[in-house]
């Protein structure tokens, strides 16, 4: 039984002017201790999905149109607020993209970590502080810096604090929303390596959201590629990297400049993301797809299994035309 199953999840943002379909029928599963990479351009609905899992979507506008999120057998969408609160930070925790603003500027780093331990660990404040200091040391921060404030730390160090905070209660699932995008490359490698060690040590499953295929290659077991609120290709790392099928995935891999050829220009995928408030019918990618036919534009595409451990949402691929 998998740790987390997302079935046909769709999330819409309804405002007076527009009805934004951010996520439309996403199906994902994360196994115990495994890492799922979620890849896609900005605005593909990656972060919305992640926030959906923790039910952090902004109340008045955001609405869960349909679908279920089964976590350890329990549907989180049906859970009461109290149940969700006991899950957040304890069972599932999240790391955000920009470390500079992720920490509360007026509380000490130690307090912010101890807070979540004290809340879920049901232990005394003193013990919580102790464990907080231990967590900091685990992420490579000297113990005596626990009493300092976020503005005294660099970007990389702040991200380490956020990671320490996320893993403090030993969650079974860690959601990392582009954890390293805001960091420079050298720090990026250190942080990812540290996350991998911690994960292996504690058997934590991870949902890694990124648009950097290099990171996915090194850290993820499975990969899901999202486009315009839908998962268009989903499979194990080998399948996707060795045998990408969906035109959009091919475009993604095509746009990575290869080192051996001396290329003058990059090969971006032409055109722009469709407007989520006015999504085209049929395959959302058809107006940018090189192989698009009239049929693609009309009928809805299904995410079908092309081979074991590799699904694609493209009728032409299923028919073997591409």
């Amino acid at each position: 039984m998998s740790l987390l199953e997302i079935k046909n999840l769709s999330i819409h943002f309804v405002t007076r002017y527009s009805d934004v379909h951010a996520v439309n029928g996403v199906d994902l599963t994360i196994e115990e201790g495994k890492t799922l990479g979620l890849v896609g351009e900005t605005g593909a609905g990656k972060t919305t999905t992640a926030l959906g899992i923790l039910r952090l979507i902004q109340k008045p506008q955001g609405r869960y149109e349909s679908g279920e999120i089964i976590f350890k057998g329990k549907d989180l969408l049906k859970a009461t607020d109290d149940e969700m609160r006991s899950v957040r930070g304890n069972e599932i925790s999240m790391i955000f993209q920009d470390p500079m603003t992720a920490l509360n500027p007026i509380l000490t780093v130690g307090d912010q970590i101890a807070e979540v331990i004290h809340l879920h660990g049901k232990c005394s404040q003193a013990e919580a502080n102790e464990r907080a200091v231990k967590m900091l040391e685990m992420v490579g921060i000297r113990a005596e810096r626990a009493g300092e404030y976020p503005h005294q730390f660099s970007g990389g160090m702040k991200q380490r604090v956020v990671i320490a905070m996320a893993l403090a209660c030993n969650p079974s699932l860690l959601i990392a929303d582009e954890p390293t995008t805001a960091l420079d490359v050298t720090i990026q490698a250190q942080v990812l390596e540290m996350m991998a060690d911690l994960k292996k040590g504690r058997g934590t499953a991870m949902l890694l959201i990124t648009h950097d295929l290099g990171i996915v290659a090194e850290n993820c077991d499975d990969v899901a590629i999202m486009y315009a609120g839908e998962v268009i290709e989903y499979g194990t790392l080998e399948r996707i990297f060795h045998n990408p099928k969906h035109p959009y995935t091919l475009g993604l891999f095509g746009s990575i400049p290869s080192l051996d050829k001396d290329e003058e220009r990059l090969h971006p995928i032409e055109g722009l993301m469709p407007d989520p408030a006015a999504l085209p019918a049929g395959c959302k990618f058809h107006d940018r797809c090189a192989y698009a036919t009239d049929e693609c534009a009309s009928c809805e595409q299904e995410l079908a299994e092309m081979e074991s451990g590799h699904k694609v949402r493209c009728a032409r691929v299923m028919k073997g035309e591409i």
Binding site: L54, L56, P60, M84, R85, S86, V87, R88, G89, N90, S93, M94, F96, D98, T101, A102, L103, N104, P105, I106, L107, E115, V116, L119, H120, Y149, H151, Q152, V162, M165
Partner: protein, 324 residues
């Protein structure tokens, strides 16, 4: 940090001196000869000279300024009123506590009412509560103080007879003056809190806190409130000056014998020593409040505390002005 506070206190002395000089110069340039107004009609040249000497009006600008400052600094003596011949300091001793009490209670009400209402209307945005509070804030902010005071007086004092209308002897009689003096400021603080709160709620660290599984209430009180306090403290600092100045109008209408009525009477009689004294004392209170505001910044925001400590070495700079 303590070094910074001491430095600020030292800086208050030249500021107060500056206020004193400005206020004195303004009244020195005022037309109309005090001696004639005191002696009335049948004055004779030698009596005029005697009186002028007594009020040391014959010493020219710097002489008078010097003796005025010397009088205040050494004997804390603000001189004598032109007409009642009573020493002003004696009057201040009697009247200052009343205005100070009104001011302090006014400020407490401002914060105690303004802050929660602001937070409430921010958290429950677009709700009915939000709009009623906004409407009240608009009306109170747009109504001149004395209209509000007289309306309150007529409505609650005379028509409904719930509250006594003058003096401050019974606790009930404090309600009306405080309400009409503090209300406009409550409205402003509420609006300021609401805008700040809306901004803070959208910050990332609030989402992090929520992702940690904290309840909305703890997020509000522990994380959001403290962060949105800083700009509110600046506004409160400004409000205190408004409340003190507003006391002139409120005390007059509610017949409270504080600095306000004293100054109003002095303005009407063109009794300049009293006007100068009152402005000086109120300016002093405002200076103290500004100092307290700065200290509150440091208490709440570690970034500013760090800058204060380091600023002790570098050139003097009040950092919090940039933050707000």
């Amino acid at each position: 940090m303590a070094k910074y506070i001491i430095k600020r206190i030292l800086w208050m002395i030249p500021v107060m001196l500056g206020v004193l000089i400005i206020v004195f110069t303004i009244s020195y340039l005022t037309p109309g000869d005090p001696v004639i107004t005191i002696l009335g009609s049948g004055y004779t040249p030698e009596k005029y000279a005697a009186k002028a000497a007594e009020l040391n009006l014959d010493k020219g600008y710097f002489g008078q300024l010097g003796s005025y400052i010397w009088g205040i600094v050494t004997r804390f003596d603000f001189g004598k009123s032109f007409y009642s011949n009573l020493s002003i300091t004696g009057e201040f001793a009697r009247r200052f506590p009343i205005t100070a009490a009104l001011g302090i209670f006014g400020c407490i009400i401002m914060v105690v009412l303004g802050l929660p209402l602001g937070i409430l209307s921010a958290v429950k945005q677009y709700s009915v509560l939000d709009y009623t509070l906004t409407v009240i804030a608009l009306v109170l902010a747009a109504m001149p103080g004395f209209v509000l005071a007289i309306l309150g007086l007529v409505l609650f004092g005379v028509r409904l007879r719930w509250l006594p209308i003058t003096g401050l002897d019974t606790p009930k009689s404090w309600i009306l003056p405080l309400a009409t003096n503090a209300m406009p400021c409550v409205a402003m603080i509420m609006r300021q809190t609401r805008t700040n709160m809306l901004e803070v709620i959208r910050q990332d660290y609030i989402r992090t806190a929520r992702s940690k599984g904290l309840s909305e209430r703890t997020i509000l009180w522990k994380h959001a409130l403290k962060n949105c306090l800083i700009p509110i403290i600046t506004v409160t600092g400004g409000m205190v000056a408004m409340v003190m100045a507003g006391s002139i109008i409120t005390e007059n209408i509610f017949n409270i014998k504080g600095m306000g009525t004293y100054m109003y009477a002095a303005i009407m009689q063109r009794d300049y020593p009293i006007v100068n004294g009152c402005v000086l004392l109120i300016a002093f209170i405002v200076c103290c409040v500004n100092l307290i505001v700065d200290i509150c910044y440091a208490l709440i925001d570690p970034r500013i505390r760090a800058r204060y400590a380091s600023s002790g070495k570098k050139h003097k700079k009040k950092a919090h002005k940039e933050v707000t």
